[in-house]
């Protein structure tokens, strides 16, 4: 078994109104970042876990997202990185 660090991004699904993202977009525009199109505010989770391999760790991360970490109705997730820790 090896210890892995999973980096998981969870964001509101495109098309679902994200008022936090809209507020941040408006604030960025008022600061002069006129080129900013769309901001969505989500969560970033760092999970330490033991697994047989990086592939197994990634599969575990996917399962965690499907069962708990992301809401399948409103959110998308991305396993951004699986690193040995």
């Amino acid at each position: 078994m090896t210890r892995f660090r999973l980096s998981i991004h969870i964001v509101p699904r495109r098309g679902i109104l994200d008022p936090q993202g809209k507020a941040v977009t408006d604030a960025l525009h008022s600061l002069g970042f006129a080129a900013v199109g769309d901001v969505r505010v989500g969560r970033y989770l760092v999970v330490e876990t033991d697994a047989e391999s990086a592939d197994a760790a990634r599969a575990g991360a996917r399962s965690m997202c499907e069962k708990l970490l992301a809401n399948p109705v409103t959110e998308d997730f991305e396993i951004a990185a699986v690193e040995q820790s």
Binding site: P12, P19, Q20, R43, L68, N71, V73, T74
Partner: protein, 234 residues
Amino acid sequence: MKAAIVRFPGSNCDEDAFHAVSGVLGHDAVYCWHKDHDLQDADVVVLPGGFSYGDYLRPGAIARFSPIMREVVAFAKAGGPVLAICNGFQIACEAGLLPGALLRNESLRFISAPVHLRVESVGTQFTSGYHVDQVIRVPIAHGDGRYTADADTVERLEGEGHVLFRYVTPRGEVTADANPNGSVRNIAGIVNPAGNVLGMMPHPERAMEPIMGSVDGVPLFTSVFESLLARVGA
């Protein structure tokens, strides 16, 4: 008749629900701790409002894995009436007892205020004490009450009469201004296809006596109990 009020760490409308059932209506009420596996032979289950697990991750996301939820889901699948109010509604959606999800209010503000609801369907055990299009006044108190579901789900809810309550003006009109949180189609409360799980963001248990400013929550509770009594032939 006996109601089980489920208590999660962070529930804060449990005593209001208990008082509504027991103090106001004179039925039995019992508290069920979320770590237990026992609904104490209750006839009705109430998932009360509050902030179970501090709303960590998402409102209701952790509570749905509480030990007692296994019994609550089994109770619901067997047709037992479940009243899921506010945080209870969020938990019921997370648990898959009801479709959709509750997201952060469009205004990003926590809103505690009386609202007007239109009763959309009276053919359920939760609304038989109202009349169609009746406008009732019930408080809301939530930061995450924006009901959301995919377009197909919303059409199904509407088409099958599963939308029970909608946010409206005092005169019963569905307008954007009457929508406190940005819910799709002003939806405030829904029922599952089997008709035994009600989820709603507003608090009928806080509209039970004149001193609370409204008694419009009473028919909801009496509807459930009368329907149960009719079934057992009492």
